[in-house]
């Protein structure tokens, strides 16, 4: 009995520290996000960080679906675009407040995802990939062809900046804090979700849908729910993008961007929220370095996708974790020998 107690206690203790570690990591990350701009005063890199924030939101959203529930989507740019267009159209044509537009954009996207989620997520594997891809292309065509509403291929300009009383978010500095506040919130909530019964049920679906259902997990509903959550986050990112850029055009929401999002998630690490940040950061900064390569960048993307999938399926974050774990065990073993 005593032994049992000890064992239980031991396991509980290690998992407790895991939770604590999670909190500490998040606090460090938040702190880093908050102080970074002070080192970048007046630098263009602040602007890049704004886009990294938006892309992180998108990658986290897709990761919930792809990395946790194991359901692929090759059309996620559509929800990003829907958020941007709903927000853009409501503010430019109907004079709505950007905040209200953001909420409506998220709601519209969520409702759409919920409705199409049931038939789409019934599909599996390659079929799901093709169906989501088709959905993405249909949405792109709608953005592109409903010229009277969206402004068509030449875009929609004059979208107002977000405003809180007299504070207008019209420069990199204020946009950075606005977008990263929301990004951090999205990350925190996603981490919470991933560590809860819902997160476990999602991963269970990814591993064995049949077994998950036998254990009482309503796989169909849960997949649709997470698809909806993912669409809502993407639409929020889209709305923020529209109000930051003040100009949007369909080209930003096409098939290529959907693939870019998948690449972010894969490169960063499936099922890792910080991995999504890493993937988003790399893919946003990468063009800077690939500029030297000029036209070769497309080849680098292709190679990256293939090599990562073949040799590092856990993404860069798992590579980093392995290195950290290795160093950690070295330190521990040293500490152990002293004790």
């Amino acid at each position: 009995m005593l032994q049992l107690f000890l064992k239980n206690g031991l396991v509980a203790k290690t998992t407790m520290t895991k939770e604590k570690r999670e909190i500490i990591i998040f606090l460090i990350f938040t702190l880093a996000v908050l102080i970074t701009p002070f080192f970048l005063r007046g630098s263009y890199f602040l602007n890049v960080l704004v886009f990294i924030g938006i892309n992180t939101m998108l990658a986290v959203a897709l990761n919930l679906l792809l990395g946790y529930a194991g359901q692929i989507s090759l059309g996620h740019a559509a929800f990003f675009g829907l958020g941007a267009y709903v927000s853009g159209v409501l503010t430019t044509r109907f004079g709505l407040d950007p905040w209200l537009a953001l909420v409506i954009a998220a709601a519209v996207s969520g409702v759409l995802a919920f409705i199409i989620g049931f038939p789409i997520l019934k599909l599996k594997g390659h079929y799901l990939a093709m169906a989501t891809l088709g959905f993405g292309i249909i949405m792109f065509i709608i953005f592109n062809e409903t010229v009277a509403v969206t402004g068509g291929p030449s875009g929609l300009s004059g979208i107002p900046n977000i405003q809180i009383s007299s504070l207008i978010f019209d420069n990199d500095w204020s946009n950075y804090y606005l977008i990263w506040t929301i990004t951090l919130l999205v990350m925190l909530l996603s981490i919470n979700l991933s560590q809860s019964r819902i997160g476990r049920a999602l991963r269970a679906i990814a591993d064995s849908e049949v077994a998950a259902r036998v254990m009482g997990v309503n796989a169909r509903l849960l997949k649709v729910q997470i698809f909806t959550v993912s669409a809502v986050i993407s639409a929020m990112a889209g709305s923020l993008y529209a109000h930051t850029m003040t100009f949007i055009s369909p080209a930003s929401f096409g098939f290529n961007f959907s693939i870019e999002l998948v690449t972010m998630v894969i490169i960063g690490g499936l099922g890792s929220i910080y991995g999504s940040f890493l993937g988003a950061a790399i893919l946003t900064i990468l063009p800077e370095f690939l500029r030297i390569l000029q036209d070769f960048d497309i080849i680098v993307y292709g190679l990256m996708l293939i090599i990562m999938t073949m040799y590092l399926p856990g993404g860069l974050i798992s590579g980093l974790e392995q290195i950290a774990g290795f160093i950690g065990s070295k330190i521990k073993s040293r500490g152990g020998s002293h004790a």
Binding site: N47, E145, S154, F247, A251
Partner: protein
């Protein structure tokens, strides 16, 4: 950090070297944003080539008042997000005094808020009328407005007593802007648009649209797009045996189009910048010298024909050069001098900017050309 230090060391070395030479003054930095890759690379590539060629040329000739130009080019991939990032980098990191490009209307619209805020003059190479209408303080453009091209065609149609037309436009930025102008101006010329069809930029078969147009009773077909779509349209028109006269936009005024459309290109009429017919121009044409010079130069450097897209970049560089020569290299001075540009004979036309007009061209910027024997003839 390391990179920054390295940069510092390198730049100190460069400064040291420069101090010993006669070029004491630092170069004037000009930024350029072109869609070198992506769906609008047919614009961005000749534009970048031309801009680089012109800057080399200017520097070889001793620069502007003894100071060299430095051109910093970034690729926007016709992606608004990348365009905005690159514009920010040019302004904040590279500290350029002026920006030329971007190549597309979408990219230009995306970066206008950025340049307006930073107060850096922008000379866009895109055609959309929205860019300079309404006038924005810091934004100019060199590409001829679609409106001028449409007016040129409609003027000719009116003379030919054609009153009913069909339009077939591509569903991208170029096509939708053209479509807008076609619809807007038709009434003014007493022209009625009988059929209004579109096609996708990647479509490879337009027989369905053309069949519909054929049965609609139009007297002429106007197609608005850039390669390769219009070549497919020309071939499909031939395949279907449609006898209606076919008009195209300045988007295809390059030899590439004639090559793609093959025999189907014969007889097509389109508005074009003067660059393709430089040889046929009368001696007293003010643009002739610049055109011939540009065409020869481009061919020498890149082994292919220069087109009027590259010409937009030529004009942008030369306009900025003129402004710097007249008023110095501060962004505000460049802007002010750009606005005072008068009768600059470039590739796209003769530019005269004013505080009410930042597009600077009249319908005179276009000539009508017809394709005959795999070449261009000037239509009077």
């Amino acid at each position: 950090m390391l990179k920054k230090m390295l940069g510092l060391v390198v730049s100190m070395m460069v400064v040291g070297l420069m101090a010993g030479s006669s070029f004491a003054a630092p170069p004037i930095k000009i930024g350029a944003l072109f869609s070198v890759s992506g769906p609008a690379s047919f614009l961005g590539e000749p534009e970048r080539n031309t801009a680089e060629m012109m800057v080399d040329e200017i520097n070889k000739a001793g620069g502007i008042k003894g100071r060299k130009l430095e051109l910093i080019v970034y690729d926007t991939q016709a992606d608004a997000t990348k365009a905005v990032q690159a514009a920010n980098k040019l302004i904040k990191d590279d500290k350029v005094v002026a920006i030329i490009g971007p190549s597309t209307t979408g990219d230009t619209m995306a970066i206008i808020p950025v340049v307006e805020k930073a107060e850096i003059p922008l000379v866009s190479c895109a055609a959309g009328i929205k860019i300079t209408d309404p006038v924005k303080k810091w934004v100019f453009k060199t590409a001829q407005n679609d409106a001028l091209a449409v007016a040129r065609i409609f003027d000719y149609l009116k003379k030919q007593k054609i009153a009913k037309i069909a339009i077939l436009t591509v569903s991208d930025g170029f096509g939708s802007s053209g479509r807008e102008q076609l619809v807007a101006q038709a009434g003014k010329f007493g022209i009625q648009i009988i059929s209004d069809e579109t096609y996708g930029p990647k479509d490879t078969d337009m027989t369905a649209q053309l069949t519909k147009i054929r049965s609609g009773g139009a007297q002429a077909v106007v197609c608005w797009g850039t390669n390769p779509g219009p070549a497919v349209v020309a071939r499909n028109v031939q395949q279907l045996g449609i006898k209606l006269p076919l008009y195209m936009s300045h988007g295809v005024s390059s030899l590439k189009f004639i090559d793609l459309a093959g025999p189907a290109a014969e007889g097509i009429i389109l508005p074009s910048g003067r660059v393709v017919v430089a040889n046929h121009l009368p001696k007293n044409d003010p643009q002739k010298k610049a055109l011939l010079n540009y065409v020869d130069n481009y061919k020498k450097h890149y082994k292919v024909e220069g087109d009027h897209f590259g010409g937009h970049a030529y004009d942008a560089i030369m306009l900025i050069k003129g402004a710097i020569e007249r008023g110095g290299d501060s962004p505000a001075a460049i802007r002010d001098q750009l606005e005072k540009t008068s009768k600059f004979a470039g590739i796209g036309g003769t530019f005269s900017y004013s505080s009410q007009d930042h597009a600077g061209l009249t319908s005179d910027a276009f000539v009508l050309v017809q394709i005959k024997n795999k070449g261009w003839t000037l239509l009077k």
